[in-house]
């Protein structure tokens, strides 16, 4: 039934709709560059969504855990074989994405007889020199983008746009400022996603919510506090100052407590 081109286009369109629904209640991912390195943040129910890929590469994902695991393993294998056969300096996020997983994700998306990969991926890469940090994001259809200072993943591109609008004018230098910023940006995204979802559920409109962007810190922190029930804040850092070749480390609960805004750290168990 897909032999005619327009049917194939229609099938891909349906697939887009199906995938958008899968991400509707996912947890956004935020990454920002600060003095100490690159900070990644998301909220998870227990299965982590932030991982180490290579010495200077970190991975954040939204979507189905099994699909994320499959692509994470692909990245890990490619990175380590390349690092062994050539050198650690040749393992770059750009090569892994462009020649590695982006074609795989795109192919899975377009092969309409097979299941697509329910994934959105962010790769953060700590540069060898200051100012050379890099982010790559890959959408479920294989489209990838490169960014320098920050990157976000969220259910839809309009939610991502809102998060970027909130994030862009703000500066963060210290790790504490970066933690504060990623938490609030996450809240902007999660709040927008929930509003859009509720609107769809109540049949008031099939489109995204069109209300004003909430930027009031207190509202955002209250939202986070509500969402923290049964979930955990996950933060990972590609730390410039850590000795040795592997720069990735997760922020443990003690460190996170000290870095979070005070009214949130008390809610952290």
């Amino acid at each position: 039934m897909y032999e005619e081109p327009y049917r194939w286009v229609e099938a891909v369109g349906n697939r887009r709709q199906y995938l958008d629904e899968q991400f509707a209640q996912g947890s956004p991912v935020v990454g920002v560059v600060c003095d100490q390195g690159i900070l990644l943040m998301t909220m998870s129910k227990g299965t982590p969504k932030l991982y180490e890929i290579y010495d200077r590469l970190a991975f954040g994902g939204m979507g189905h855990p099994a699909d994320l695991e499959k692509l994470r393993f692909t990245l890990l294998e490619m990175a380590h074989v390349e690092g062994f056969n050539r050198s650690a300096a040749d393992v770059t996020g750009s090569r892994l994405v462009k020649y590695g997983i982006a074609p795989v994700v795109k192919q899975a998306f377009e092969e309409v007889f097979k299941a697509p990969s329910i994934v959105k991926i962010m790769l953060a890469e700590l540069g060898q020199k200051a100012g050379k940090d890099n982010f790559l994001t890959i959408n479920y259809d294989g489209v990838f983008e490169e960014k320098n200072q920050y990157a976000v993943l969220a259910a839809t591109s309009s939610v991502e746009q809102r998060m970027i609008e909130y994030l862009r004018p703000q500066s963060c230098v210290s790790l504490k400022e970066a933690v504060d910023l990623v938490i609030r940006t996450w809240a902007v995204g999660d709040r927008a996603q929930r509003q859009a979802h509720e609107l769809r559920e109540s049949h008031e409109g099939a489109k995204e919510s069109s209300d004003q962007l909430v930027t009031d810190s207190q509202t955002l922190l209250t939202h986070i506090r509500q969402r923290m029930e049964g979930k955990m804040i996950e933060c990972a850092l590609l730390d410039r100052h850590v000795s040795g070749t592997s720069k990735y480390r997760t922020l443990g609960s003690v460190e996170l407590k000290a870095l979070l805004p005070s009214d949130l750290s008390s809610a952290l168990t």
Partner: protein, 255 residues
Amino acid sequence: MQGDFYQILKEQGYALGMPGQSGAGQPLTTATTILAFKYCDGVLVAGDRRATAGNMVMYDRTDKVLEIDRHCVMAIAGVPATAYEMARVLEHSFKYYRRTQLQELSFEGKLRALSKLLKENVPAALAGTGAVVPIFAGYDADQEAAKIYFYDILGAEFEGVEYAVSGSGSPTIRGILHYVNTWGEQPLSTMSQEQATIQALRLLTCAAEFDSATGGVNREAGLYPVVKLITAEGVTAMADPYLRSLFESNVSKGV
């Protein structure tokens, strides 16, 4: 999905230490002195810096005490090409395991990984083109203790309860280590970091005295042995200025 990096390499056609008939009989870069012993905070591992081929000195700045991860080192004696390759395989294997399985490979698992590589290397070792006799030392997080293991060229692993030595200069210092540990002023395991470092410098100086394939201290060139300490906090390399000051105040007067 087993987290086995070496298996992935092999599936891609990688082979460690192929025996080379044409290489047999050629002078290979070998010979060395490496040592490890327990001191009060953990384990000290040290090695001289000379690489020789027959009676030729190939290089005087070799680092034979290789950091495999934050808590483990492999000190190498034997053919450096194979030894460095083994160290690279191990380093990538441990990282790959940690990153895929989201937990550290156990200390026991790390020991077996080296043993496996040595077994795979037996044909090259017996052909005379790739023998490696390493010491592996690290901090065992489960047992909360720093440990030393030494191997033969076939891959058998033995625990050095108090110390281990390897390389052409090792017979000289093995007896000294036994003597110092048994009848010295204090056992090695109670020595402070400074006392342990002085012992290591003296032992390597002794080895260099009697083994031409072991490089001693070259003060003119500012060349000192490599000394690394393994404690619960991880691996620390001793800086040359520190070694120089200990050498000048505690070792050189007797040389």
